[in-house]
Each structure stands twice: as structure tokens, then as C-alpha cells.
């Protein structure tokens, strides 16, 4: 092996020392780190711009939808109002008491030996009650019996449609006067009958149905 003499030993050492200079190395590292940071900043900036662009497109879409949704909300409120108003009005309509069928039934029950002199009826909405008072005179050999027949017939007739009906005498008293019925003079009795019913019980809500009162037949 030939002998080699390094005459530049000191220079080479110095060069190596320069190359391994920590300051220089750290400067390189700092430049690299700075480049990475700049790249990261640019990437983040790009993503911000992308988000802005997305926001702009969504805002444009919202700008188109907003008037429609405002209008839809307004219309929905209006329709809901109409529905609830119609339901409330239907409630009133369905819970009306129809007087015509009752008058017809009273007319059916009045026989020739009965005369109704007064009829008074009242609807109590808060209690759901209907009360009718019939004031009249019954004539016959047994006027009290005639009045009782009238009461029972009224109970039967009204009870067909109103199962809760109660027909009771408030007053039943003999009168001194006589009347001619069918050519015979008969004794009379004065009576007051009350008809009480609950056409719309509060516990049960009636289903909406076609509720029409029928025209009264010719009868007195």
C-alpha cells in the first residue's frame, strides 16, 4: 500500500468544520421550516377561499329559497288558521240544537183533548242542556190520565232521538171549568210538563254528521 501524505489536513478540517457549522445547518432548517409554513399558509388560504366561494353559492341558493319559504310559511299560517277556524265553526254548527224536529214531535203528541197554551224552550250552551216547558189543558173524563198519556207519548217520541230526555210534570191540577170535546162536556186539568234533555253530552264528542231537520208534516 503506498504511503499517502495529507498536506492539506488543516484546510480539509476547516472545510469540514464549515460544512458542519450548526449555525449554517440551523439556518437551512429554518429556511425549510419557513417554506413549510408558507405552504401551509397558502393551503389554508386556499381552503378559506374555497369556503368563501361555497358560502357565496349557498347564499345565492338561500336568496332564491328565502322568499319562497317566507311565502310558504305565511300561507301555512293562513291555511292553519282557516282549518282551525273552520273546525271551530263546525263545532258550533254540529252542536246546534234543532228545534223543528221537537216542534214536530210536540205536534204529533197533541191529541184533540189536549190544548197547549204555551211552549217555552231554552238552550243552555254552557251546561249542554235543553229545557222545554209546555203549559196546557187536558180534557176528558179523567183529565189527569189524558195529561199523563200526553206526557208518556211525548217521552216516547222525543226519547227516540234523545235517549237522555226526561219528561216530568211540574204542575198537574184539576180545573173547575168544563169543555166540550166531541160534543160531550168534560172536566179539565191544567198541567205544566218540563222536557229536559242533554243533546250533546260533554263526555262524548259527536262525530260530524249530516244533521238536517226534516220539514214538519201538516198536523196540529
Amino acid at each position: 500500500m503506498p504511503l499517502q501524505l495529507n498536506l492539506l489536513h488543516e484546510e480539509i478540517l476547516q472545510q469540514r468544520q464549515r460544512q458542519r457549522d450548526p449555525l449554517k445547518l440551523s439556518l437551512y432548517a429554518a429556511i425549510g421550516l419557513g417554506a413549510l409554513l408558507i405552504l401551509n399558509y397558502l393551503w389554508t388560504g386556499y381552503r378559506v377561499l374555497e369556503s368563501k366561494s361555497r358560502l357565496n353559492s349557498i347564499q345565492a341558493e338561500w336568496g332564491k329559497i328565502e322568499p319562497k319559504v317566507t311565502e310558504a310559511q305565511k300561507r301555512s299560517d293562513e291555511l292553519n288558521g282557516i282549518i282551525s277556524t273552520t273546525n271551530a265553526l263546525d263545532g258550533y254548527i254540529e252542536n246546534r240544537f234543532y228545534w223543528a224536529p221537537l216542534l214536530e214531535k210536540v205536534a204529533h203528541c197533541v191529541t184533540p183533548n189536549i190544548q197547549i197554551t204555551a211552549l217555552e224552550g231554552i238552550v243552555e250552551d254552557d251546561k249542554g242542556l235543553v229545557t222545554v216547558t209546555l203549559d196546557g189543558v187536558a180534557g176528558g173524563r179523567e183529565p189527569r190520565g189524558v195529561a199523563e198519556d200526553f206526557r208518556q207519548m211525548l217521552l216516547e217520541q222525543v226519547g227516540k232521538e234523545q235517549p237522555t230526555v226526561k219528561v216530568e210534570f211540574k204542575t198537574l191540577e184539576d180545573l173547575d171549568t168544563t169543555v166540550a170535546v166531541g160534543g160531550n162536556n168534560v172536566t179539565t186539568a191544567h198541567f205544566v210538563v218540563t222536557v229536559g234533555m242533554e243533546p250533546f253530552p260533554k263526555a262524548a264528542t259527536p262525530a260530524p254528521t249530516e244533521h238536517k231537520s226534516r220539514p214538519k208534516k201538516e198536523e196540529s
Binding site: A30, L37, Y41, S51, I58, T85, Y92
Partner: protein, 184 residues
Amino acid sequence: MNKEQVKKLLLGALGLIALLYVYFSFFLGPLNKSRNALQAKVKDLQTKISTSKTEISKATKLEETAHSATVRYDGLRALSPDGAPIAWFPPRMRTFLTSHQIDKGTTRLETNSDFKEKELADWSRYLWIIDLPQADYESLGNAITQLENTNPLLSIKKLRIHAATEDPEMQKVVFTAATIIYKK
């Protein structure tokens, strides 16, 4: 490393820390903050758009289902003519009663009030007293039948029928009718 180099390194490290602080606090931080704010806005708007689309579709469905209610509502509203009820209801009743051979009928307003229910805020309740000095029972029955069937917003609350003393065929009738009238 000599003393000089250690000093420079320390200085460099300090500079690096300062640089990182400035970078994250004044450059990247605000940028990220701005991005987060933008993303929050995007998310918010997307939620709004999604909710709005649902609401629009619901409103369209409601429009279809509410059709019958709308028609009925318009029909009920049409029962209330323009003008003050006191101006049109009594003449209308007179004409109606005359058409049923009941003359001399008078209609007067007893009370009117608003409803407590908020859904009936546009409607008022009127109580009318209809006085018929002469009416025969059959005509009265027919009139009441037609009145109840053709006026869904009218209900009779009180009814008094008394035999008229001068004519046994005739009765004296007074009834109180409640009507629901649209405020125009």
C-alpha cells in the same frame, strides 16, 4: 461548538420561537378563525335550506289537504254580506218570514260580542230577538225548519210560543237566534 456558535444558536432558537408565534398568532390563526366562521355560516345556511325545503313541501301538502277546509271557509264567509249586520239581517229575516206567511215580524239586536277563541277572532256573535205577534204553528214549524237548514251559523237559543187570545188559530212567538257573522 464554540461559545460564539452556541450564542448564535440560542439566538436563532429564540428567533424561531418568535417566528412561530407570529405565524400562528397573526397569520394562520386569523385565517383559520375566518375559515371556521365561514364553515359555521355554511352549516347554518345548509340547515336553513334543508328546513326550508321541508317547510315548502309541507306547505304544498297542506295546500292540498286544506282544500276542502278552504272551500268550506269561503262558503261560510259568504254567508255574511257586506255591511253592518243590523242593516241587513232584520230585512232579510222579514223577507224570509213573509215568504212563510208570517207577517208583522220584527227583528231587533239584543247583543253582539266577540269570541274568546283566538281562531274566531274575525267572527262576531250576534243575538237577535225575533218577535212574531201572529204565526200559525205549521207555518212557524216550516219557517224554523228552513231557517235551521239554510243558515248553518244560526241557532235558536230561546223559543216562546203563546196562544194568542184574540185568534185561537194563531200563536204569539218570540225567539232568540244567535248568529255567527264574519267581521268585514
